[in-house]
């Protein structure tokens, strides 16, 4: 989409803007927040936001937009912040991104818009994520449902399977084109991984609820407690419920384990279970909430893995009172897939990083409870298929760490429920759904898919990108009838 040129009201010459420092995100002090589940980042004030917005170089060909998976018109919305018209800035973002309060918090901007920002060459990039968060929060505080303009109805019905980032994005785009949109969610809350996977201190549930409420006001229908494939099949959605197209965004699937001895011990969790207990089920508020969690207070806790999920889990452990919390990662810190900001936050909060190490076996107390892990040190060898240097075990380097809780955050495999209950839906060798990279079309007419169920575990913004492409593919299919 071409960027609409707008006239800038920024009075500062470009060569001065380059010298302006990036405005820091106010945050809770590390030693306070590591005991609380309340949000770490506190958000820009209007003044800070405007100060930061003034740094934008207003490039003629903005690389930030080009590198954004959903194509947010960064320059335009930042100029509207400079103008002080925050609601217009929010509306500008919303043209391309229906979940700005969420991406403003969890998107790895350094890999996308901010990584592409020209200011990087001279210092620090524009705080695009922080600015996005600011306008989205401002919009939520000043949200007026009567301002929503609904598109004339097309008479077409679309089912969205899964209410995670890809599903919500597709739903938002499709409802804005006038289609009737129903979102089916297996769990009891809307949001998918945003709700069960990402902790409160990074993405408060209230924010998700408010974003979902905005989508409800836009006309999206939500139905919880529906496991598509079990409660209703995709064929039934077409044949019996009158849907014209279906988007499958069921997300990452079954948690992986290492297959080492002792993984069934009490105290060994998958990251999905651990985070679901805390985030979706509020186990950290037990017994006010009924879902229990093992007692973390004063205990040694290790999370195995180096991604954002691993960091979410270990930082949650600290908040549950862990005495010592550490990451066990088999490569070095440079290869860690987690966001830099999360690593920094985790370290400030007291997380230790034991890199180049992996568990070989979990040890028990003879009564079924975890007491430790026998680990092995690694060194980096030749790059593997992922392009990262492969960890190679160092002979004779074994050591034992005492542990009460271990959380496996080493990725997921495809959940088979949709694939096995939808005849004719082609899958990859690893069981993910095959989908076209531009239209997100699957092998089944009228069925589109995107997000982790197609790519395997990725990020919120990549899933949202897929949701956008699917929405446009679905719109085209529904308006032309051509497959």
């Amino acid at each position: 989409m071409p960027t609409t040129p707008t006239k800038s009201s920024n009075p500062i010459p470009n060569k001065e803007r380059i010298k302006m420092p990036r405005q820091h995100m106010p945050e809770q002090p590390a030693q306070v927040r590591n005991k609380l589940f309340t949000e770490v980042n506190l958000g820009y004030s209007a003044e800070l936001a405007r100060q930061e917005a003034l740094r934008c170089l207003e490039c003629a060909k903005p690389t930030c937009t080009k590198d954004c998976p959903v194509g947010v018109k960064v320059k335009d919305f930042v100029q509207l912040i400079v103008d002080g018209d925050f609601l217009a800035a929010a509306a500008k973002i919303r043209e391309d991104n229906v979940l700005p309060a969420i991406t403003g918090r969890v998107c790895p901007q350094e890999d996308h818009c901010e990584g592409a920002c020209l200011l990087c060459k001279r210092g620090e990039s524009l705080g695009i994520g922080y600015l996005e968060r600011f306008v989205a929060d401002y919009e939520q505080q000043h949200f007026d449902p009567s301002t929503i303009v609904k598109a004339p109805p097309t008479g077409k019905k679309v089912a969205i399977v899964g209410s995670g980032p890809s599903g919500l994005t597709a739903a938002g785009d499709l409802v804005q084109k006038g289609h009737e949109v129903h979102v089916f969610e297996a769990l009891h809350e809307i949001g998918g991984v945003l709700v069960y996977g990402i902790p409160e201190f990074r993405l408060p549930k209230k924010i998700i609820r408010e974003q979902v409420d905005i989508m409800r006001a836009m006309g999206v229908c939500f139905e919880t407690d529906v496991v598509v494939g079990r409660t209703v099949t995709i064929d039934e959605l077409f044949e019996e419920e009158g849907f014209d197209a279906v988007f499958v965004g069921t997300g990452a699937g079954l948690p992986q384990f290492m297959g080492i001895p002792g993984e069934h011990l009490n105290g060994v969790y998958s990251a999905n279970e651990f985070l679901t207990r805390i985030n979706l089920m509020h186990a950290y508020e037990f017994p006010k909430f009924d879902e229990p969690m093992v007692d973390f207070r004063g205990k040694n806790v290790a999370v195995i893995g180096g991604g954002n999920t691993a960091l979410d889990a270990i930082r949650s452990s600290l908040r549950l009172g862990a005495g010592k919390a550490f990451i066990l990662y088999r490569r070095s810190e440079a290869e860690m897939p987690a966001r830099k900001e999360e690593v920094k936050h985790a370290r400030e909060e007291g997380v230790e990083f034991q890199t180049l190490a992996a568990p070989l076996e979990f040890l028990d107390d003879g009564k079924g409870w975890l007491t430790g892990a026998r680990c092995q040190k690694m060194e980096l060898g030749e790059p593997d298929a992922s392009g990262r240097r492969r960890p190679v075990p160092i002979p004779g380097s074994e050591y034992v760490v005492p542990l009460s809780v271990a959380v496996m955050a080493i990725g997921t495999t495809a959940n088979p429920i949709i694939q096995t209950t939808t005849p004719g839906l082609a899958t990859t060798k690893r069981g993910y759904i095959q989908a076209d990279e531009t239209s997100q079309k699957t092998s089944r007419k009228g069925v589109f898919a995107g997000g982790d169920i197609v790519t395997g575990g990725a990020t919120v913004i990549l899933a949202m990108g897929a949701g956008r492409r699917a929405a446009s593919g679905i719109h085209q299919y529904l308006t032309t009838g051509e497959w």
Partner: protein
């Protein structure tokens, strides 16, 4: 919200609920289960589907009061609602004509065994049912089982009804009498299922058990319900809940199900305490109001 259209105790501490859940009622197959959540602060627990009525759009669940959630659920009455019910989950039972099938239900497990017994009968099997209970009162669904079985045996631990002894004693007797058994399904407490597995393993009779590990989402996402099946991790919610009894590591299942015992105890104690306070409050309110004691309302 899902409305309870009928709620009745069928044995001491065991209640049958009929819940309006049209989507689930349409799709339920024998062997499948649901997950329920009573209220905003509630945990998610898996429960047996005893039967469903697709026309009326209702499913029946049978619940035994054990901890906080089951006690709270069993305090609900006709006309009340629960916040969430999701399903049908898990793979349906494998139903075909095996020949002679022995269906064993222990305690509240009989409710889960019942729809499979009925389906086995429909598939042309000779169905021999063994229902076990601690005592006469805890033998449930006997009449229902009789309508779908060729023969029904009842055993009680204390001999207050049927034969005194365990379901495995009866199974042993059947085998010793030379009864040809092609398939066994056992649903009940873990020690019972394990004992059945030990017996039929020796006799080389294929046996399925329906497992009840700790579970949260029920769709394969969390992995909390993993069971060790011949040394391999399988998820009861997507790969089960029924597994080949001879391949299941029951010791691990027992150990993992005990993971939250302390928390469960604490939850239940606090619940009982709250109930007691409620009762006292209700009693106090029922007492005649002393004039002047409540000035200005």
């Amino acid at each position: 919200m899902f409305k309870i259209v009928n709620a009745q105790f069928i044995a001491p501490g065991i209640k049958r609920f009929t819940i309006e859940a049209p989507r689930i009622a349409r799709k339920q197959r024998p062997g499948q289960f649901v997950i329920i959540r009573i209220n905003e602060k509630g945990e998610r627990i898996p429960l047996t589907i005893e039967r469903s009525d697709p026309e009326k759009g209702t499913v029946n669940i049978v619940v035994q009061s054990i901890g906080k959630t089951t006690n709270l659920l069993n305090s609900l009455e006709t006309g009340d609602s629960i916040l969430d019910i999701v399903g049908p989950l898990g793979k349906p039972s494998e139903v075909r004509n095996f020949g002679t099938v022995v269906v064993i239900g222990g305690g509240v497990g009989t409710a889960m065994a019942y729809p499979t017994a009925a389906a086995m009968k429909n598939a042309g099997n000779r169905v021999i049912t063994i229902i076990g209970g601690r005592n006469k009162d805890l033998v449930i669904l006997e009449d229902d089982m009789r309508t779908v079985s060729d023969t029904v045996f009842v055993t009680t631990d204390d001999g207050s009804y049927g034969d005194k002894g365990l379901v495995t004693d009866k199974l042993r007797q059947l085998i010793d009498n030379g009864t040809r058994i092609d398939e066994v399904l056992a649903v009940g407490p873990i020690p019972m299922m394990r004992a059945v597995a030990d017996l039929t393993r020796k006799e080389k009779i294929h046996t399925m058990v329906s497992l009840n590990p700790i579970m949260i989402d029920g769709t394969g996402m969390c992995g909390g319900c993993r069971v060790l099946v011949e040394g391999k991790s399988e998820f009861a919610c997507v790969d089960g809940p029924e597994f080949d009894a001879h391949r299941v590591d029951f010791a691990i299942l027992v150990q993992r199900n005990a993971m939250y015992r302390d928390a469960e105890k604490r939850s239940f104690e606090e619940y009982k305490h709250e109930c007691e306070l409620e009762k006292q409050k209700a009693a106090a309110q029922a007492e005649p109001v002393v004039i002047g004691a409540r000035e200005g309302k």
